[in-house]
Amino acid sequence: MNNTDIKRITPKNITDKEFFYGHKACAGCGGSLAVRLALKVLGERTFAVLPAGCMSAVGFIYPQMAFVNNAIISTFPGAASMASGISVGARALGLKDYKTVVFAGDGGTADIGIQALSGAIDRNEDIIYVCYDNEAYMNTGIQKSGLTPYGTKTTTTPAGKNIHGAQTFKKNLFEIMAAHEIAYAATASVGYPQDYIDKINKAKHTKGTSFIHVYATCPTGWGIPTEIAIQIAKEAVDSGLFYLAEYQNRNFKLNKNPKSFFPVKDYLLKQSRFKHLTDNDIKIIEQQRDEKWEYMRKHWN
């Protein structure tokens, strides 16, 4: 289905109903905004699967049940398998007009759940997999994941005198998903909510597996004031450290290709997880960013 065939969902016409409400996420949590907006687009007839991680932890605190639609916690590595089972099981029961969605963290997706996810895409299950990326294992107290960027201070990659935080770069999750020739994949950021809403809406109207990698602020793990949670997620994109892109029909598309970038330093040094970075560390981060953008500009669009 073409982009233009789908009725656009905007703040004016989006449902007034809330499906993720009264949850116990920290104030200013970007992951909870990603879940909230996605469910408002997908609607009440949605089965949500959440593996271990903050969004399951804050939504299901007995006797509280912050999901207003159907929702279930899966094993940590098995979110995509459980969603696959729900999707085909509901079809076997004759259910129509329903969606199955996963909300998993970066750890639950790029590291622990990647095998089940790869299998689901291979079988082209009719599910939407949303990875909210707060760049570490937050629910267990900030450990490095495969999506933690270079230089990040976490409890497993401390900032010492010799080693300044994480020494690896973010895993290329979006391209790994695209390499499966998945029906639809996209990256998004809670700093660009309309773009995120559009992509969830596109995934909703895609038959087969969709994957959305959404950049989601964690004020607690990043060490920022809660009120700048949306601003910082926008600056991550504007500084070129995160990018907005889509993949469909073997084509990559950059949704945003800025002529100049927001200063990386201004983005990084607002956050206590990056406070220790030296000018040289920042140069390494910029260099890596520039290489990535050179590649994307040359090969995508």
Binding site: Y21, A27, Y62, P63, V68, N69, P225, I230
Partner: protein, 100 residues
């Protein structure tokens, strides 16, 4: 109902009172989140241009449309301040709770 409300939680006395699954029914909220809040967002309806920016970016979904303006469900607002920070016309002020 657009958003669930707090409900009275009666501690089960008998095995039959427990939910069938590990959770109570969808949207069951046994307590509010208001106690988390240090600063309260106050919306100046004269300044609000109804752009709905705060409504879209609220992580808790506590801002709702009301008579061509917006309002806040203070039972579940945690006072993160994102709405006030994102408002393009500064129609939302964060006021310390004990001063109210």
């Amino acid at each position: 109902m657009n958003r669930p409300k707090v409900q009275k939680y009666v501690k089960p006395k008998h095995i039959d009172d427990y939910p069938v699954g590990p959770q109570f029914t969808a949207g069951f909220l046994a307590e509010t989140n208001a106690g988390w809040r240090t600063f309260r967002p106050i919306i100046d309806k004269n300044l609000c241009i109804n752009c709905l920016r705060c409504y879209i970016v609220c992580p808790d979904g506590v801002i709702f449309k009301s008579e061509n303006k917006v309002d806040v469900d203070y039972d579940y607002c945690k006072g993160c301040g994102v709405c006030a920070h994102e408002c393009p016309v500064n129609a939302i002020k964060m006021v310390k709770e004990e001063l109210l």
